[in-house]
Subunit: 199 residues, 2 copies
């Protein structure tokens, strides 16, 4: 166990350091602590493996019942008025974008969904999150598609194939994501990023 964990840590360092050599000089001790679980891992057939500890990642935005089209259901399942969406990103990727103004390779945004609950005491009004389910991952990796990103929809499985690059989610994010195809307009701590989409 110890050996495996040490090996993973080394893999993490190598992959991450490749994209942040400039930063390494400044805050080396923190930078070298990228846990392997905070990087994307793939099966032999190229499916993205489900990260394990994503609920401890940085939560950049919560929403309730958010939909992108009033005339039909959102492409993401579960966008009912009673569904919370919470978006998580790896801590190292969050620090990277705050310090450099760019999303690093291997950045993963996780869309989690939970039913809006209201039954537990002492709640007397409003709604809170039920159990969270990992629904989708948006991964930045330049070989995945022309956009430089890939979408993965997880059901209950441990891994997911990439959604084909001609699916509507890619086009929608390119046209509507305020920053580098990400909906930073919905994420309080990322709203300051300079807008990159064409109005």
């Amino acid at each position: 166990m110890r050996t495996s964990s040490q090996l993973s840590a080394v893999v993490g360092v190598v992959v991450f350091a490749a994209g942040t050599s400039v930063l390494l000089g400044r805050r080396a001790p923190e930078r070298l602590q990228v846990p392997s679980g905070d990087l994307p891992h793939f099966t032999a057939s190229g499916k993205l493996q489900r990260p394990l500890d994503w609920q401890s990642w940085v939560m950049v935005g919560a929403s309730l019942g958010l939909t992108y089209d009033s005339t039909r259901p959102a492409p993401v399942a579960g966008a009912s008025p009673r569904t919370f969406h919470t978006i998580f990103v790896q801590p190292w990727a969050y620090r990277h974008v705050q310090e450099t103004g760019e999303f690093a390779e291997n950045t993963m945004f996780i869309l989690a969904m939970s039913d809006a609950s209201q039954d537990a005491d002492p709640a007397r009004g409003g709604t809170y999150e039920g159990e969270r389910m990992l629904a989708e991952i948006h991964l930045k990796k330049k070989d995945l598609s022309a956009s430089g990103w890939g979408f993965y929809a997880f059901g209950g499985g441990d891994s997911a194939a990439m959604i084909p690059a001609n699916a509507s989610c890619y086009d929608c994010h390119t046209r509507n994501g305020d920053f580098d195809q990400v909906f930073t307009q919905f994420y309080p701590p990322l709203r300051h990023l300079e807008q990159t989409r064409t109005p």
Copy 2:
């Protein structure tokens, strides 16, 4: 800058290690990386200082318009149907409770509030978080009160005095918090903790 940061790191290690010596043998490298900013700091007059990087902490629960009493406004300002609450805890404190089943001394829960927004494209339904404001901190520290916790309400200031221990928030959390005076019943990744309140 470097010297100050190194000094802070040492302070962090000392305070944290005192409560987790059993764990240190198992995962020492991570345990020694508690940034000073992830511990409570006080002014000379005993006010709790506002943490700076709390939006990168672990978000344990989101809610919209949550209130605890249907007959009057909640004791926390802003509990309107259009206010998101998001609750953050230090990453080291989150790992500690997941590994030991107990909240460590110096654990801080931050209640952030944000207006429910709905104007940014491509939103066509539902609401998302506006700007987040740090509203309250719930700090575990045994000398603060008989309950072992202290509440601090932040306005726009950089520090806040503790709310007196006879205020209703203490009694409400003692009676209604599922685990150690914390409303874990509203927090998906902490709901598994063994209930400690008297039914």
